[in-house]
């Protein structure tokens, strides 16, 4: 069974479903059977459609070109359809979502897997930048320590003394306890 959702796919550019579209469908299906099935010469007449609804959904069966009363096995039809799915979809400007075939799950495209996951690249860039920053920092601090050893430090000691004394003065009432 096939389900067409033309409007949702194409919106303004939707085409009207009519006899000619149905003919195209039967032709593409015949093409699929010819190419992917046993190679016999399937024709438009071999694809029989029934039970069409305004939803644009219908049932179809495929008859063998050699004997019109013999129906082709469902599995072979399914296989042919699955293999030529993208051709059938593009003939109608639709996708797997909008052109459903009940019973055949679509074979979705495998996602492209790049060799290096992209996040690792971004990570490497940031890590490299940060690492460089740290190296610069450490080198400059080593240089600064080298310079400071030669410079005077008496001022600094006096300043830290002053701060320390104030806290001691507040301790007196407590220590008397």
């Amino acid at each position: 069974k096939y389900l067409f959702s033309i409007n949702s796919a194409l919106g303004d550019q939707a085409y009207v479903w009519n006899e000619n579209e149905m003919f195209l469908f039967r032709a593409t299906l015949a093409f699929a059977m010819r190419t992917y099935s046993d190679g016999q010469e399937y024709d438009v007449a071999n694809v029989v459609v029934c039970d069409e609804t305004p939803r644009v959904s219908f049932w179809f069966v495929v008859t063998s070109p050699l004997d019109a009363s013999l129906l082709v096995d469902k599995r072979r039809v399914e296989e042919a359809v699955r293999k030529s799915r993208s051709r059938i979809n593009s003939a109608f400007l639709l996708t797997d979502d909008t052109l459903e075939f009940i019973g055949i799950p679509p074979t979705l495209e495998a996602p492209v897997a790049p060799d290096t996951p992209p996040w690792l690249i971004a990570f490497g860039v940031v890590m490299g930048g940060v690492g460089a920053g740290i190296v610069v920092l450490l080198v400059s601090s080593v240089k600064r320590d080298g310079e400071e050893e030669t410079g005077g430090k008496t001022e600094n000691e006096a300043a830290s003394d002053a701060i320390y004394n104030m806290s001691f003065s507040d301790d007196e009432p407590v220590t008397q306890m």
Binding site: P118, I134, L138
Partner: protein, 597 residues
């Protein structure tokens, strides 16, 4: 004695920005909107602002005063106030240590999401395919793709806290990066931190503003904002609302960790911290509200998108079952059609009735989420639906990173500043000491990158800081008000600022805040006891496939013991230190029996 003078902030602006950067953190973005939603929307602002005035600002002021007066980290400052109560400082350091261990994991996740945003299709927008490529993986299909990305690909979470696997390499790398950047920001102490806070404090506001504009122009955003701001004033009668407001103010301002004391200790003696305390508190409060508006406009967008997708699926279901022409049913008249078809074809309708999801905008908006669930799952879901989603994703996770890093700086300073003050460590250079602390936290933090790591993270998040902080701040305010004495504290402030604090501050410190804190403390204990066995939400792979998540599981015995350890270890520092000092004094006293009294 230090070999160099105590470092100072280059100017008071750096100090204010540092406090803002620390206080404005992830809680403003992911906890406050949740509370707003749970407790009556716009009405929640009333208890929130009242609590800010009653406990938030006074306690903030008090911590800044102590730090600036003593010019020492939390341990040194509390020892100077009263030698027996130096344990308060130790408890602060222990709690900060726990926080540092697990908080950087959030930054690691932000990095992970940030790096994964540089792809043409955001990886959490689609479910990965199963092995025969016929459809998405089952685990992903029953949840959502964003949940799957968070729990499976980001965390690779195990089914319970007992099962453990190896370390998730990606997580470990991101954690390493987070710690390396933290080290870079604090390597030279206040000199480096002072410059970094310009960026970490200001940039999140830029992003929030951009998101505000983006949020308001999103389809359906107004539904969310209207929903949030419609005040449901009857919630004010619920005591939980007030308790949650008090707790939120308390944790949002970052009281009790020792960070504020550490930051203030690098101030000039006469810095006017009174004005700065008020400014920072209000900025913090304002940011929470600002962030909530943004969050709710995004909520509204997400809820509307989900609602419309639900309608679309229902419409398709109706079309397919009843073979109607495509343009007969549109999204607007789906519900009318449902009723029509129910009456005309009752049997057929009954067959598909179980597949019909009830599409309801209210219930979509009602899904209140907080914490990591909001930030990483809900927001990423909203972002993937926006046009140019990579840009928004990068901006958003960059903002989360800066908020998290800003708070992280404060937490690390809370540990390093007291350590610096110890004479034993004063001859180690700044860079080396900071590096050692970072490496130590990194190694312990790797435990959170294992497959059960998120469960441990939740445990630390729920129990590591809350109770200890309440206890520490209660002890602080009682010590300052009654043991040290309000009069002496007043004189100290007069010494620094030039004027005494007015009656409002004194009433808060001596009366209102301690009472509030005692109430919160008791409520917390009662809830803990009444709550029975502590539970956590487990992502069990098999059960998720059957559509039941989250699964509330009890913590196993070792988990409960660890929780107890977390709670007790920091609180017990206070009595243990008092005991230690007492014993040390007693040992000294026999040698002084001959001294004149």
């Amino acid at each position: 004695m230090g070999k160099e003078a105590r470092q100072n902030w280059d100017n008071p602006v750096q100090f204010v920005l540092a406090c803002v950067s620390y206080a404005v953190g992830l809680g403003n973005v992911w906890r406050f909107p949740y509370l707003c939603q749970m407790h009556g929307g716009g009405g929640f602002l009333i208890p929130y602002l009242i609590m800010l005035v009653l406990e938030g600002i006074p306690l903030f002021y008090m911590e800044l005063a102590i730090g600036q007066k003593m010019s020492l980290g939390s341990i040194g400052a509390w020892t100077a106030i009263n030698p027996y109560l130096g344990g308060i400082g130790v408890a602060s350091v222990v709690t900060s240590m726990y926080l540092c261990l697990y908080y950087n994991i959030i930054n690691a996740w932000s990095f992970w999401y940030l790096f994964h945003s540089f792809q043409s299709v955001l990886p959490w927008a689609e479910c990965p395919l199963n092995s025969n490529r016929t459809g998405p993986i089952e685990e992903c299909e029953t949840g959502t793709s964003t949940e799957y990305f968070f729990y499976r690909e980001t965390l690779n979470i195990s089914s319970s806290i007992e099962e453990n696997g190896g370390i998730h390499m990606g997580q470990a790398l991101c954690l390493l990066l987070a710690w390396v950047i933290t080290y870079l920001f604090i390597a030279r102490g206040v000199k480096s931190t002072g410059k970094v806070v310009y960026f970490t404090a200001i940039f999140p506001y830029v992003v929030l503003f951009i998101y505000l504009i983006r949020g308001f122009t999103l389809h359906g955003a107004f539904n969310g904002v209207a929903y949030m701001f419609t005040p449901k004033l009857e919630q004010l009668a619920n005591p939980t609302t007030w308790i949650n407001a008090a707790t939120q103010i308390f944790f949002s301002l970052g009281l009790g960790f020792g960070t504020l004391i550490a930051f203030a200790s690098y101030n000039q003696y006469n810095n006017n911290f009174e004005r700065q305390a008020i400014i920072v508190s209000f900025i913090n409060c304002g940011t929470s509200i600002f962030a909530s508006v943004v969050t709710f406009s995004i909520y509204g967008f997400k809820a509307t998108v989900n609602y419309e997708n639900c309608l679309e699926r229902t419409r398709l279901l109706l079309l397919n079952t009843f073979n109607l022409a495509e343009d007969s049913v549109s999204m607007d008249n789906v519900f009318e059609w449902i009723e029509k078809l129910n009456t005309t074809y009752p049997q057929q309708f009954a067959e598909i009735a179980h597949k019909l999801e009830g599409c309801d905008l209210e219930s979509e908006l009602d899904t209140a989420v907080e914490g990591t669930g909001l930030a990483f799952i809900v927001y990423s879901e909203a972002i993937m639906n926006m046009p140019v989603s990579q840009l928004w994703s990068v901006l958003y996770f960059l903002m989360l990173l800066l908020l998290g890093m800003g708070s992280m700086l404060g937490n690390i300073m809370a540990i390093i500043t007291p350590l610096r003050d110890f004479k034993l460590l004063s001859h180690i250079s700044d860079e080396l000491l900071n590096g050692l602390v970072c490496v130590f936290c990194l190694l312990l933090g790797l435990g959170f990158t294992t497959t059960s790591g998120n469960y441990w993270f939740t445990m630390f998040n729920d129990y590591g800081a809350n109770f200890s902080l309440l206890f520490v701040v209660l002890a602080e305010v009682i010590t300052v008000s009654y043991i040290y004495g309000i009069k002496r504290f007043e004189k100290d402030i007069e010494d620094m600022l030039g004027h005494r604090p007015n009656w409002y501050w004194k009433i808060m410190w001596a009366g209102v805040s301690p009472l509030l804190l005692i109430t919160l403390f008791i409520v917390y204990i009662v809830n803990y006891i009444q709550g029975g066995t502590p539970t956590y939400q487990a992502w069990n792979k098999e059960l998720v496939s059957w559509g039941s998540f989250p699964l509330l599981t009890d913590y196993p015995v070792f988990g409960q013991l660890f929780i107890a350890l977390l709670l007790v270890s920091s609180v017990s520092c206070v009595p243990l230190t008092a005991l230690y000092v007492y014993c040390r004094e007693r040992k000294r006293r026999p040698a002084h029996t001959g001294s004149p009294e």
